[in-house]
């Protein structure tokens, strides 16, 4: 095979490989290249976020509007989630964030029930009105043994 | 006498064989190879001929002793200085050691491309000229596998000569060649040496064929060596193992010829 042919084949191979890599990186992995500036982050404080994972979805009325981008224990010993939300979504200050699960054993997600206040949460604000994860085990034991204790 | 081209001083080399036993190949060997002449290093198989050659090129490290090339001790030098010493040598390997994936032209041009600043055009001219003197014109674009053994040897010689070596090493140059070919190759060696004036070191088990060329003969035997100023001196040696060697490699016939 002559040199030109070798170079062409190698070039085609490199292009195909990089395209595949680009597809993986931008279409599957959420590389922040396209959504920088299109999202903002607010915090939400919970008593218990058991079962919530980084990357869990944030939904409003069942529509995915963002994801959980960070989980940590804050200075008050409460669970603090960082929610990355679509910039077009305005969250009134009296909104409530709750931990819900998809079916009984499904993945946990965060649901925001939008309020009616005129003010909106800005970048880095904290939602204090929250509902924590339902502890299925204690629920079942309450049901089965008729006592919460 | 001028400084020897290559000198061994008390050189020892042993290997741990595959059976785990230590095998002494060279045992405190001394010899010197005069410049501009042809020295034949001979010995039975497994007597350390190839090892000696590799020691000279420092493809192997000696266990003890000094190896001087042009007065410089090469044991222990490395990097750029080793490369400098190695450029003094041209080597024709036993199987010619041509690069299979390159054409004859690229093989011969390789040392020029890698070691000199010559332009591609200068390289082209020099390579074609060398190929012509070695009767290889018209074969530039062939691959080594398409050539006969004798032609491969000539290409190997052409490649080794590109950097004007001061010392040429020939490792069993005639293995695998028929007698006619063997004579031709040796005539070629003699011709190029007369023209270029290099020091030739020929490692061979094939004594009769190289006799006409040799100025000096070194026989390796059981880790020791014997040097003879001329082939004739070797003939009349009284040492039993030399007599033995002469008889088995050259036959009685050759001896009787000489007597006449």
């Amino acid at each position: 095979m002559n040199t030109k042919m070798v170079e062409m084949t190698v070039g085609a191979f490199m292009v195909a490989g990089f395209l595949a890599l680009v597809y993986l990186a931008f279409n599957l992995g959420e590389v922040g290249l396209f959504d920088r500036g299109r999202t903002y982050e607010i915090q939400a404080e919970f008593d218990n976020v058991s079962g919530v994972k980084k990357g869990a979805t944030v939904q409003v009325a069942g529509v995915i509007v963002g994801e959980v981008s960070g989980i940590r224990l804050n200075d008050d010993q409460l669970a603090e989630l960082t929610l990355k939300l679509d910039r077009t979504l305005k969250v009134p200050t009296d909104s409530i964030a709750s931990v819900k699960s998809q079916g009984i054993i499904g993945d946990k997600f965060i649901q925001i029930t939008l309020g009616g206040a005129l003010d909106h949460f800005e970048e880095r604000d904290v939602i204090f009105d929250t509902e924590s994860a339902i502890d299925i085990e204690s629920l079942i034991s309450k049901f089965a043994f008729g006592s919460a204790q | 006498m001028s400084e020897p081209a290559v000198e061994f001083i008390g050189v020892s080399k042993s290997f741990v064989g595959r059976d785990g036993r230590r095998q002494v190949i060279l045992d405190r060997v001394d010899f010197s190879i005069p410049p501009g002449q042809t020295t034949v290093i001979a010995g039975g198989s497994g007597q350390g001929k190839s090892v000696t050659l590799k020691l000279i090129l420092r493809l192997l490290d000696a266990d003890a002793g000094q190896i001087l090339v042009g007065g410089v001790d090469i044991t222990g030098i490395r990097g750029g200085r080793l490369e400098e010493v190695r450029t003094k040598f041209g080597v024709l390997f036993q199987g010619a050691a041509l690069f299979d994936s390159m054409t004859v032209f690229d093989n011969v041009a390789l040392p020029l491309r890698e070691r000199t600043d010559k332009t591609e055009e200068q390289i082209r001219q020099q390579v074609l000229a060398t190929l012509q003197t070695l009767d290889l014109s018209g074969h530039e674009e062939k691959f080594p596998a398409q050539l006969s053994g004798g032609m491969q040897k000539r290409v190997g010689l052409a490649r080794a000569l590109q950097l004007d070596p001061e010392i040429m090493l020939f490792d069993e140059p005639t293995t695998g060649l028929d007698p006619v070919m063997t004579r031709e190759i040796y005539e070629l060696f003699a011709r190029t040496q007369r023209k270029l004036g290099y020091t030739a070191i020929i490692v061979s088990h094939d004594i009769p064929a190289v006799f006409s060329l040799a100025d000096q003969v070194i026989i390796l035997h059981d880790g020791k060596m014997d040097a003879f100023a001329s082939p004739d001196e070797l003939q009349w040696s009284t040492k039993p193992h030399i007599k033995d060697f002469v008889r088995t490699t050259m036959g009685e016939l050759y001896q009787s010829q000489l007597v006449e």
Partner: protein
């Protein structure tokens, strides 16, 4: 009598241990020399291109068929397992994660070891036994810079790209069997895939493919280079064939071991 036999057994055990240590040392030195060769000038760009052509472009067809069939089997197998729980919606996520994190890097490395690694090992082994490597050294040309390091560069470029190709083709294969043949909802396949694959998973896959590339090219070229010093290899053409087999086996096993280690460390 038994005492002597015991001593001999011990001695041979010690000998084997020392041989393995020395072998490992030689391989490590070989790797260092190959890495040093990367920085020697002049860099042989053309040789690199030639090797990318051989290792990378030449493996595309093998990778294509392996990836397609792997992806299709994953789609089918995944469908049957997930169907029992009514969770076919997870198929996209299952197929893509399996491919990106595990099967893509591992199978690509194994294919490259079998196809290109064996050829590299045999080529270098033959160059060694026919004195071509010695000839280079005698011309004061560093064999590492000349033709070994370019193989490293080519493998490190080619294997991750081949892995990315493998992932994409495999996912397409999963789509074909899962969605087109078994009738999983295409939206949930793709949505599930995009939801579940994170950057971390992709990074893990890419890191693996880099490590595997180095392992395969190192072991295959190194065994060829050391063909004369490998115990039990024999001589001549036979030694090259034995060492080539050994190199491919060693490279494949190392890939599998490192796959586990990397997953355990990074996941």
């Amino acid at each position: 009598m038994t005492d002597i036999a015991g001593k001999n057994a011990l001695a041979s055990l010690g000998g084997t241990g020392m041989y393995i240590l020395a072998d490992l040392g030689k391989m490590s030195l070989f790797l260092l020399q190959a890495l040093r060769g990367l920085f020697r000038r002049p860099f042989r760009f053309r040789e690199c291109v030639k090797q990318v052509h051989f290792i990378g472009a030449g493996s595309v067809l093998v990778i294509f068929f392996t990836a397609l069939s792997t992806g299709m089997v994953l789609g089918l197998q995944g469908y049957y397992s997930l169907n029992k729980f009514g969770a076919e919606g997870m198929l996209g996520s299952a197929v893509s994660l399996t491919l990106i994190m595990e099967l893509g890097p591992v199978l690509t490395a194994l294919m490259v070891a079998g196809r290109a690694g064996s050829a590299m090992c045999a080529e270098i082994g033959i160059m060694r036994i026919s004195d071509q490597i010695d000839a280079l050294e005698c011309m004061a040309v560093d064999p590492f810079r000349f033709f070994i390091s370019p193989k490293f560069v080519a493998a490190i470029i080619s294997v991750p790209l081949l892995t990315a190709l493998f992932d994409v083709i495999g996912i397409a294969g999963g789509y074909i069997s899962g969605v087109l043949l078994m009738g999983v909802n295409p939206g949930s396949f793709i949505e599930g895939m995009q939801q579940s694959v994170t950057n971390h998973d992709i990074n893990l896959g890419i890191i693996k493919s880099f490590v595997f590339a180095v392992l395969v090219v190192w072991i295959c070229t190194g065994r060829g280079y050391l063909v004369r010093e490998i115990r039990g290899a024999g001589f001549g053409a036979e030694s090259v064939s034995r060492v080539t087999t050994q190199a491919v086996v060693m490279a494949s096993i190392s890939v599998l071991i490192f796959d586990y280690l990397l997953t355990a460390i990074i996941l």
